[in-house]
Symmetry: C2
Subunit: 327 residues, 2 copies
């Protein structure tokens, strides 16, 4: 199979599914999206994806296709099934890999989005040539993919890499998983908004930050709520509350990364996802606090990198990379 | 090399070095020990080990030997060197693997004791047939060896597996590594003594525990200090302070293990080393707190096991197993 040129990448999200055809260099030859919620069962979605891709598949030649990779919430690499996934409306379990193979007559591998992103970075992105690294997705939640000895760590049951559900703050914020103080409750888009709301609630009477046109306080007054983008904008405008919010978030995440480094000893940590659009506002405190808390043997040795997968195509590229792994 | 029958295991400690000849089933055919501190440089120690083993090597036939495995503090699997090791008196760096190969005319692999123990459990012990597990050594310090996809995680620089130096208590006890609140400061023999001393210091005036003949308080009064064995004996006699000490230690370790499980998703965690001699006094609270803090997908799925390497031979067996790995 090594000589086959193309693979199909599919990223199934709770709301939308994106998919495309990718070559071995990571060029996206075509792509499209469909509303996940528009399909009552996964067979229907897969059939629609196939219809959308068929002209391109026929043009390139079915025999040139290596396989399909799918990133989906709760997807188990070992079983090819989704058994639990809070944000999918389908009746579970779903034998996703088997259904995709039936629909496309191609081998299929599945895993969750963070693990797919890790393989994507290793195949086409910032982790090319690396054998030991950690990828962290900072989005609505916090996901992670750990690679050691050149292989993704799936764990015994296929669910390894849940750094987002390790304890960042003992007895901290309640998490949807039933635990308390999970990293995900602090270092995600929702987490940083919660931190900013705490900061707003603790504001003294004379609110100095009203002076700044793009302050968090004004965003909140105007809209009745704030978003991660509001915090980023306010930080860029110099709002101290927003800067404190990023500093606090960076401290929590940096401390967690220092501990993760002690366990798997990576060459680099790659940050990926929505929150990384805040650039130095998030990277600088994460880096500073990670270095402060690293064991001395790791200080100034672990690179903190931006993802090199184009943000808009990353989900498809990550999923497609799974198909090369299995080849 | 697959057909060669024997390997040499050497465990170099700060005080003593133990070594022996092991077959593929993990039987120890001969063993001995030498004082590490009696040798001004490692060449002299290796020559003495060779002299001690030579009769047996000649009896079995040098051509039947597969290689040498050495466990030593700070030993780097990749470079074959020891560059930093607080408790070795030799001038560092030492090209240990090269020196051993020169002395014995056999290939040599080296790593630290916890990683050697992990490979030992995988080869002869409780982790036979497992591809994903964590070994934890609870001795003077806390060491760990993480195995994923059937391979030990050495990390990019060879120093992965430092669970003992992840943060168990934020801003907690000062650690020799320069950090604060490291797991090692709580879940080791020295850590449990520190916890017991804290408990003793907080005793109210009327000391109920004096009633118990083997109480911690009496041990401390008699000797002016206490040891991990005193705590174990007092717990067995029902002393509430000693039981609280184990419960606290088990909580800290159980919480740390729950987080480690979220990262690498092991099938089992194997506890190894001096502190495990306390049996259910340590296993029960570790298990209970680990289960309480595990992500729901892992609850009641991760076995907490005793090492199956005989305590006295474990260091040699672990080191010898390294030699089969490389074969």
């Amino acid at each position: 199979m090594q000589s086959r040129k193309f693979s199909i990448g599919i990223d199934i999200g709770g709301t939308n599914t994106v998919f495309g055809i990718v070559n071995r260099r990571g060029d996206l030859l075509c792509q499209s999206s469909l509303p996940t919620t528009g399909y009552p069962h996964p067979e229907a979605l897969l059939a629609a994806i196939r219809s959308a891709l068929l002209p391109k598949i026929e043009e390139l030649g079915q025999e040139e296709f290596n396989g399909i990779g799918i990133g989906a919430p709760g997807a188990n690499y070992y079983t090819g099934e989704i058994t639990i996934a809070a944000n999918l409306h389908w009746q579970l379990p779903v034998a996703l890999s088997k259904l995709a193979t039936a629909a496309f007559a191609l081998p299929c591998a599945i895993t969750n989005d963070a693990k797919a992103a890790a393989i994507g970075e290793m195949t086409y992105g910032a982790a090319k040539g690396m054998k030991d690294f950690i990828l962290i997705t900072l989005g609505t939640g916090v996901g992670s993919g750990f690679v050691a000895n050149g292989q993704l760590i799936y764990g015994h049951d296929g669910f390894a890499g849940e750094l987002g559900h390790t304890t960042a703050v003992r007895d901290g914020r309640a998490c949807g998983c039933g635990r308390k103080g999970c990293l995900e409750r602090y270092a995600s888009a929702t987490g940083i908004v919660a931190t900013a709301m705490e900061q707003l609630a603790s504001l003294p009477q004379e609110k100095q930050t009203e002076q700044i046109e793009d302050s968090l306080f004004l965003s909140w007054q105007r809209q009745g709520h704030i978003t991660a983008s509001d915090i980023y904008r306010a930080a860029t405008a110099g709002d101290p509350l927003a800067l404190n919010t990023f500093s606090y978030t960076g401290r929590i995440l940096g401390q967690a990364l220092a501990d993760a480094v002690a366990i798997t000893g990576p060459q680099a940590i790659i940050l990926f996802g929505g929150l990384t659009q805040a650039g130095h506002h998030i990277f600088n405190p994460v880096k500073a606090y990670m270095e402060e808390h690293l064991l001395s043997i790791y200080k100034n040795k672990v690179a903190l990198l931006h993802s090199l997968l184009p943000q808009n195509d990353a989900a498809i590229l990550g999923a497609s990379a799974l198909a090369w792994q299995d080849a």
